[in-house]
Amino acid sequence: MSRTQAGLLVLRLGLASVFLWFGFSQLLDGINWVGWVPAWAVALLHLPPAFIVLGNGLFEVVFGALLAMGLWTRFAALVLALHLALITFDIGLTAIGVRDFGLTLATFALALLGKGDQST
């Protein structure tokens, strides 16, 4: 395994861990996340915020798992990056927003680079 491949593996598993933790947290402890659901999402989806939290959690677990397993890495990373970009824009210029901005760009980088072998 080259250093580039090792770096991509660390990047991929690290980002997957982040999405999986937040996804599972929303599925298992959704009440703590309801306050983060933006009003526009409720208006757009016509769903209770608790449902949106569960859906978002499931989405992050599924795509985080794809990332972790190296399946459709570029596609999964691109979808997650777009998802996180939306969240970052919604949070705005706060400490959390700036942190998520960095994570968004790292996920975009993974979408550009892929898993690091020819299969991706």
Partner: protein, 136 residues
């Protein structure tokens, strides 16, 4: 074992670890039932499971009462004239535990407003932890 199989096995392990970690955290943070309060007439239990020594008086919660709740186990803070029990939020705060721990037992208005002032989401989350108004 080829690369794809190895990658999938590692991925499954990461998924299991992340899920297990969240489940373990949730189990560890679950509030312990307070049982029957010894003074049932004037005792109450907060969302975090900490027992109030008495119901918040109509005149508001005294700053000395807030100051007594200054630990990870029982963390109250006064923010913009209201008192909040932030105990259960400590491990959940996306910005890290320390950001909440530094508010325990104090008037956290300046820090909260400096970080989240005017943000509706954070204000909505905060409402869920309200105990009452602070005494003037």
């Amino acid at each position: 074992m080829n690369n794809t199989t190895t990658s999938i096995i590692i991925g499954i392990l990461v998924v299991a670890l992340a899920g297990g970690l969240v489940f373990w955290q949730k189990s560890a943070d679950a509030p312990v039932p307070a049982g029957t309060p010894s003074t049932a007439e004037n005792a109450a239990t907060t969302t975090a499971g900490t027992e109030l020594t008495s119901l918040p008086p109509a005149s508001g919660i005294a700053s000395t009462e807030v100051a007594a709740h200054n630990s990870r186990e029982t963390c109250w803070s006064t923010i913009n004239g209201n008192v909040y029990d932030l105990t259960s939020w400590i491990p959940q705060h996306p910005g890290g535990e320390q950001a909440i721990l530094q508010l325990c037992g104090t008037d956290g208005s300046a820090k909260f407003n400096g970080q989240h002032g005017g943000a509706p989401k954070q204000a909505a989350i905060l409402i869920g932890f309200k105990l009452g108004v602070a005494a003037q």
